[in-house]
């Protein structure tokens, strides 16, 4: 084990991009995931991951079919654009649904989310089957088996997600308010729909670029498991936000190291590590209560 650790340290330059991307994804998804869990939109996050993956896969397929002419350097950008576009449309539709429910509770968001999830999952498999880049790429996107992330991808991911994290810190109380009590927020003249669009679109951007960078499974896991763990540990929102970000970042780092040491798939290792944090947090919550 110590030999493997030494090997990991010695070849750090190879892994550092993927580890840094995982840590950024863990911290940012962990932070914004508090809204996901509290707002009871966990399956929105799952559907976003699928929609985003579909966007990536469709871009691969269009390039392969030469339906879109791409310069070599734009082959990497196109999947990101498609992922962001698909997720953006879904996010805006979700925000519209949520606002419509304020005045008409007969509208069901669950049915819409479930339909999007199922249809995008089916389309993902069908399109993926046509892509000759291979099952390896499909698996990377779905399960996050990316071992190496190059510097341009890392910079792009950090460049998008870190400003979003700053925005969320700045507007934390407002975003929480429209999530917690949209009725009161409306009566006080708050731009509830716009703040919801901002929340969902920013969430969608982090998820779509995160999915392309480290895979759908770890990104979805980071937006759900660390927030649940943090909310179990702390009974106040401020601490929960920061704890969730730290648990997400630690899950990514420890998960990656574990995958290297035990020869496991990286995405699943990161998700499982977040799961271990959740079990520990739930145990501590039981002891406390």
């Amino acid at each position: 084990m110590s030999e493997k650790l030494a090997l990991f340290a010695a070849s750090w330059e190879l892994w550092r991009g993927a580890v840094a991307a995982g840590v950024v994804a863990g911290a940012v998804c962990g932070f914004v995931g508090i809204y996901v869990v509290l707002h009871r939109i966990v399956f929105v996050s799952a559907a976003m991951s699928q929609v985003s993956s579909l966007g990536v896969m469709l871009a691969f397929w269009l390039v392969q079919a030469q339906a879109i002419e791409t310069a070599h350097h734009s082959e990497d950008i196109l999947p990101l654009l498609f992922a962001a576009l698909f997720t953006g449309v879904f996010s805006a539709a979700m925000a519209g649904h949520a606002s419509a429910r304020l005045s008409d509770r007969t509208k069901s968001s669950e049915a819409f989310i479930g339909s999007v999830y199922l249809l995008s999952s089916a389309a993902l498999v069908l399109v993926g089957d046509q892509v000759t880049r291979g099952a390896h790429d499909v698996a990377n996107i779905l399960f996050g088996n990316t071992v190496i992330v190059d510097l341009p991808h890392l910079l792009l991911f950090a460049g998008v997600s870190l400003p979003i994290a700053v925005l969320h810190v700045w507007l934390r109380k407002d975003l929480l308010f429209v999530s917690f009590d949209p009725v009161m927020a409306t009566t006080l003249g708050y731009p509830v729909t716009w703040l919801r669009v901002l929340l969902l679109v920013s969430l969608g951007m982090v998820i779509s670029i995160g999915t392309r960078t480290i895979g759908a499974l770890p990104v979805f896991s980071f937006s759900v498991l660390p927030p649940i763990a943090a909310l179990a540990l702390f009974e106040n929102l401020r601490s929960s936000f920061w704890a969730s970000a730290v648990i997400g970042a630690l899950s990514a780092f420890l998960g990656y190291v574990t995958s290297f040491l035990l020869g496991l798939p990286t995405g699943a290792s990161m998700a499982a590590t977040a799961g271990v944090f959740l079990l520990v947090a739930k145990g501590l919550q039981r002891l406390r209560d």
């Binding site: 005045s103 700045w170 917690f180 009590d181 009725v183 009161m184 409306t186 006080l188 909310l231």
Partner: protein, 233 residues
């Protein structure tokens, strides 16, 4: 400038283009109390939501005086208990509308929050989670929040729901005293007929079955509807 803080003219309420009730018109003058009564499903909540702008009106006009501000006390059951929000954090949100998006609360905002916490007897509960409070305590915290917004019209959705008559009188006594102290008019949905008769200047009685809306002083509107008891909620 109109004397009425809020007025409705030929207002039609309902959903998906279907009116629930005949047109109704009323005005809320400063310092007055208007109660909306009627059986379950009569359209009380829809009327309240329409006044608050949460449900689109089907026709007519709702006018809110330019300098008037609405404060809203929802039914406490509508607050999602999944959020670990303390009483202090909840009451603070009453100032958000005045401060605006992205702005931090100022010392005067915090002073107003403290004042309302103390006025409603919830200061000692400031650090407690809202979801852990009793029904009466939650109601007082929601009242403190609404008053933080410096409202000229306080809109209350069944403020005495699931309270006994004694508790309802105490809760309304506090609400009325604070509303008067801060110069706010009240528009409320309430089921206690005695209480409504005692505190209201005007009553809006909604009768969906007979497609009738009666508006007037409580002695007239509640006449023949029994002086004891409550409407089913």
């Amino acid at each position: 400038m109109s004397a009425a803080l809020l007025s409705a003219e030929a207002l039609r309420i309902g959903y998906r283009g279907t009116s629930m009730l005949p047109e109704l018109s009323f005005a809320v003058a400063p310092g007055t109390v208007i109660s909306i009564v009627g059986h379950n499903g009569s359209g009380k909540s829809t009327l309240l939501k329409t006044i608050l702008g949460l449900t689109p009106k089907l026709g007519g006009e709702i006018r809110i005086r330019r300098d008037a501000r609405l404060g809203y006390v929802p039914q406490r059951e509508t607050m999602d208990p999944i959020y670990p929000v303390t009483v202090g954090e909840l009451v603070e949100t009453g100032r958000y509308g005045i401060r605006g998006v992205g702005r931090r609360l100022t010392p005067p905002d915090r002073a107003r929050v403290r004042e309302m916490l103390e006025a409603t007897g919830t200061a000692r509960l400031e650090r407690r989670l809202f979801r852990t409070l009793s029904g009466g305590e939650q109601q007082r915290a929601l009242l403190a929040r609404a008053l933080c917004a410096e409202p000229s019209v306080l809109v209350l959705d069944e403020p005495t729901a699931s309270m006994d008559e004694k508790g309802a009188h105490e809760a309304m006594g506090l609400t009325l005293a604070l509303a008067r102290k801060h110069g706010a008019a009240i528009v409320m949905v309430n089921h206690f007929i005695d209480l409504v008769a005692e505190v209201s200047d005007q009553v809006i009685h909604l009768d969906r079955d007979h497609q009738r809306v009666t508006i007037g002083p409580p002695a007239e509107v509640l006449k023949g509807r029994g002086s004891q008891g409550r409407y089913s909620s």
